[in-house]
């Protein structure tokens, strides 16, 4: 299976036009010492049928959410995706098209991205959104870089809540490590499961550049951003809200209403399958006054020479292909098709759908937590309000998880791997996809 349609007759005719005796002649200018070692030692190609069979065999060795009861969140969520979403992003006009540099023949992608930008603004309550970045983690890192562009050179301390997703904290550290002027500090969480405000206030000073908190955070806790924002404003630091479960915005007060400076997060919940954690997309929104510092692509509205409305990539002078080493970021290809999936998803969910599904998530998660405490004798760990994830503590968790696995259940994510202080704790997630009977089985299995 090659996908190269050239017959021997085709090749002969073309070589004749070119004026070369053989295909080899096209690259004989490449040093011989390289050519003679260039053979690719991989097995020969397979038929489509054979490929399908081999891949199906690999796929069958993975535990799927349909087959197992996975009460797993931690930044990737199993949500209902309406069939129409895949129908739209499977259209090759969307999936096989290139970045819309020729706007006259890319109005489909450009308008869809303009709609995406609008939907993100509406969802997050922010004034401006870009056309998506790689994922929530790099969005958080890019937000820090953006704060660095905006804040004066005396301000280079970054305060990150320990309750922010561990992967995101790690990626921020990686990006920031090479910028020798930036200092990264961690703010602890308290018994509510949210950022320790007293500790934060104490550490904020005139050298603070920005503060990052999860909303909801990694533990599923919904922190009140109002006092955090006040503390930041008093110190002149930017507040960056990071959300890995944006479905929560169907019910929760959005970051924009807390006047945060930058709101970022992971968009996987919005119509993208789990895909082992990628691809999905990172959303990135900010206040209008910062728009010239935002990374990534921006789509703007304009008119054509006949006065018709149209859309174009704009403010491109921020980007790598023009600004090169002075660019706001190095992003080129991002995650457009996934952002498009979210646009279709949000259009189908609409105002009422978003609220309804958010309510179902809250109701089921709270019910499951209450029953696990009451009937399965697990202990609550944090006192703060939560959306669809919660942390519980139990004895003998290894046994609990082994027992559950026999019933094809994974009760949650063990937390010791990132939080040694949270021994015997796990993070459990319940969404609209976990049926009542499933929760029954979970409770019964853990209760033993």
């Amino acid at each position: 299976m090659r996908y190269t349609p050239h017959t021997p007759a085709d090749q002969e005719r073309m070589l004749k036009t070119i004026g070369v005796a053989s295909i080899d002649g096209l690259f004989e200018h490449v040093p011989k010492s390289l050519r003679e070692r260039a053979k690719i030692n991989l097995p020969d190609g397979l038929t489509e049928l054979a490929v399908r069979q081999q891949l199906a065999a690999l796929a069958s060795q993975n535990a799927t959410a349909g087959d197992w009861s996975l009460f797993l969140g931690g930044g990737v969520y199993r949500h209902f995706i309406p069939s129409a979403v895949d129908a739209m992003i499977s259209r090759s006009e969307f999936s096989t098209s290139y970045t819309p540099y020729q706007p006259e023949v890319s109005q489909g992608t450009l308008q869809a991205l303009f709609e995406y930008q609008t939907l993100i603004c509406q969802l997050t309550g922010m004034e401006v959104s870009n056309a998506a970045v790689y994922d929530g983690a790099s969005a958080a890192a890019e937000a820090v870089l953006m704060a660095r562009r905006i804040q004066p050179t005396g301000r280079r301390r970054v305060l990150v809540s320990r309750a922010l997703h561990p992967h995101y904290r790690a990626v921020i550290a990686t990006y920031v490590k090479n910028l020798i002027d930036v200092r990264l500090e961690e703010i602890p969480f308290d018994g509510t499961g949210g950022t320790d405000i007293a500790a934060l206030t104490e550490r904020l000073d005139d050298q603070s550049m920005c503060v990052l908190v999860g909303y909801p955070n990694f533990f599923g806790i919904v922190e009140d951003l109002a006092p955090i924002k006040s503390a930041c404003a008093r110190a002149g630091a930017q507040l960056i809200a990071v959300t890995s479960e944006p479905l929560a915005f169907g019910l929760l007060k959005p970051p924009g209403e807390f006047a945060v400076d930058i709101a970022v997060g992971e968009g996987q919940s919005l119509g993208v399958p789990m895909n082992l954690g990628g691809p999905a997309f990172g959303f990135f929104a900010c206040q209008k006054k910062f728009v010239r510092n935002i990374p990534g692509r921006l789509v703007g509205e304009t008119v054509d020479s006949d006065g018709r409305r149209g859309f174009v990539l704009t403010l491109a002078t921020r980007e790598q292909h023009i600004r090169r080493e002075k660019a706001t970021s190095n992003i080129c290809t991002s995650q457009t098709l996934c952002a498009l999936a979210a646009t279709v998803y949000l259009s189908l969910m609409g105002k009422s759908g978003m609220r309804r599904v958010a309510e179902v998530n809250v109701a089921r998660a709270h019910e499951a937590k209450a029953r696990l405490i009451e009937q399965a004798k697990l202990e609550p760990v944090f006192s703060g309000p939560f959306f669809n994830e919660f942390v519980l503590r139990g004895n003998d968790l290894n046994q609990v998880f082994t027992r559950s696995a026999k019933s094809k259940i994974v009760p949650g994510i063990r937390l010791e791997q990132w939080y040694p202080e949270l021994t015997d704790c796990f993070l459990s997630c319940v969404t609209e996809m976990n049926e009542r009977q499933e929760i029954d089985r979970l409770v019964r299995t853990i209760a033993g």
């Binding site: 090659r2 295909i23 690259f27 390289l34 053979k39 690719i40 030692n41 891949l55 796929a59 993975n62 535990a63 959410a65 349909g66 996975l70 895949d86 499977s90 006009e93 969307f94 999936s95 290139y98 020729q102 706007p103 006259e104 023949v105 890319s106 109005q107 308008q111 309550g125 994922d135 790099s138 992967h167 990686t174 090479n178 915005f249 169907g250 007060k253 959005p254 992971e266 789990m274 082992l276 954690g277 990628g278 691809p279 054509d304 006949d306 704009t314 080129c332 991002s334 995650q335 457009t336 098709l337 259009s347 105002k351 609220r355 599904v357 309510e359 179902v360 109701a363 309000p385 609209e432």
Partner: protein, 498 residues
């Protein structure tokens, strides 16, 4: 009866509404039964929101029609030829799409115990081996989400390696033909960019490199073949110069489609490179992603590779999160897994022989177009080209027709234009990369269109200068979009207001 005016001939409404303009209060698509009880009461009132103002309220068919109509205003590989230089717009196989949607790949959670993900991990491990073999390098990380992130990762590896030896150094050498991501990534990594010029043959000289290489140069970033479609013939000598001063060689692998079976970067003195799976390895461009930009390194950089690392213990796969010398995490979870599945499927489908054939046919197609166009368009460099060729608009400029005009006129002929005005060292660059999945007939059609435009440029230049004439929208006012950016819809705004 006289001929009706253009207006009256077609009464079709062609301008699509925005979602929000089609909304109707109370209309919805998704119906989900309510749970018992008041969920909102479980959240403190200060943390609740009102309804999402302006959010769409549409029926399902309306939504489908909306996006279907939008898709029809797009251009795609499956509609027509897309000869964008350095983008490798080859066929995106459907089998890849089917496989990526298997529940065993789509409905798996990254934080499930690795014992439950052995099939996925085996696939990733297999892909690492494939990419190492294809590039001639030793170790691979599949983490980076795109080429640019691969570059940043590669530079971080270099920095970590040098820092480990006492001095991360300060400078990166970047050719003038480099893609903009190269200097941008260098800056993000805390390096200063030193630009060097290509010579009259369009390639970099070892002597030019030697002139700027000292013990503060961390690396040179080189693309091979370069963005002019030319093989960087001095690369081994250049590598020697840089290595001689303790620096490293980074290869931008965006043009790997020209090299399979012809030359391996690992044999060229390259220490680290990235590959673009959404170019060489057929994963769809998606209108701007998602892609993937894995990095490959030789042994000396292995310790610095990002985490998590895939490790084979017996016949099981494990994930290593802790590696003391690693540069750390560059993204969440394991990278763009869905894209990696597609690339793996592609490589399995083609095999070693198929990949070699792909490069051979890519070179054949590019050289064929070059030969047929070079009498009517000025070739930028009279050197053997590989998988892409570059022309300028110097001949057409005499009649006041520019590369931009030519590109826009191609739209009227139903072709997507080539890459234009890149690289910057060529004035009015027209970079054409046909890829191997195109038939000679398609190439002939494109060439005929280009030759017709060359004729038009001489005989009726205004026709070209005012193109496109037949696309859904004509040339768009980009200055207006940049001066007064309108980046979202708001209630009360309409095209008339702008």
């Amino acid at each position: 009866m006289s001929e009706p005016s253009q207006d009256r001939k077609s009464r079709r409404v062609t301008e699509p509404n925005l979602l929000f303009e089609s909304s109707s209060p109370g209309r919805n698509s998704i119906v989900w039964p309510a749970e018992a009880g008041d969920a909102a009461a479980l959240i403190p009132p200060a943390l609740l929101r009102d309804d999402i103002a302006g959010f769409p309220e549409l029926g399902e068919l309306e939504v489908l029609r909306h996006f279907t109509r939008l898709s029809q205003r797009n251009f795609a590989i499956e509609s027509q030829f897309y000869p964008l230089g350095s983008c490798t717009m080859k066929y995106n196989p459907k089998i890849n799409e089917v496989v990526a949607r298997f529940p065993g790949f789509a409905e798996i959670h990254p934080l499930a115990p690795p014992g439950m993900l052995q099939g996925a991990l085996a696939l990733l491990h297999g892909l690492e081996i494939m990419l190492a073999e294809i590039s001639g390098m030793e170790y691979v990380s599949l983490q980076p989400s795109a080429g640019a992130q691969g570059e940043l990762t590669g530079l971080m590896l270099i920095r970590a390696y040098l820092a480990d030896r006492g001095n991360p150094r300060r400078k990166i050498i970047v050719p003038d033909t480099a893609h903009g991501t190269n200097p941008a990534s260098s800056t993000l990594c805390g390096y200063e960019v030193i630009q060097i010029s290509s010579n009259d043959h369009g390639v970099i000289d070892a002597t030019a490199v030697a002139r700027v290489t000292d013990e503060e140069v961390a690396a040179i970033m080189i693309t091979n073949p370069n963005t002019l479609g030319l093989f960087e013939s001095n690369i081994e000598a250049i590598a020697e110069v840089v290595h001689g001063k303790g620096g490293l060689v980074y290869l931008d692998g965006a043009n790997l489609n020209a090299l399979m079976g012809i030359a391996k970067p690992g044999h060229m003195g390259v220490d680290v490179l990235h590959m673009n799976l959404h170019k060489t390895f057929s994963t769809p461009h998606g209108g701007g992603g998602p892609g993937a930009g894995p990095v490959a390194v030789n042994g000396q950089l292995r310790d610095y590779l990002p985490v998590p690392r895939l490790v084979k213990q017996g016949d099981r796969f494990e994930l290593l999160e802790d590696a003391p010398k690693s540069v750390g995490r560059v993204r969440s979870y394991f990278g763009n897994f869905g894209v990696l599945v597609r690339a793996y499927t592609y490589i399995l489908s083609l095999g070693g022989d198929g990949l070699e054939q792909a490069s051979r046919m890519a070179l054949l197609n590019a050289n064929y177009i070059r030969r047929r166009l070079e009498k009517s368009y000025q070739i930028a460099f009279d050197e053997p080209c590989m998988h892409e060729c570059i022309f300028t608009d110097r001949i057409q400029h005499k009649n006041g027709v520019s590369t931009l005009d030519i590109a826009k006129r191609l739209l009227d002929y139903g072709y997507h234009p080539p890459t234009i005005y890149f690289p910057l060292v060529v004035s009015g660059a027209l970079m054409i990369e046909p890829t191997e999945t195109e038939t000679p007939e398609t190439l002939d059609g494109f060439v005929d269109a280009m030759l017709a435009i060359a004729r038009e440029a001489k005989e009726e230049p205004e026709l070209v200068q005012q193109a496109p004439h037949s696309t859904p929208v004509r040339r768009l006012d980009e200055a207006r979009a940049a001066r007064k950016p309108v980046l979202r819809w708001e209630r009360g705004s309409s095209a008339a207001d702008s």
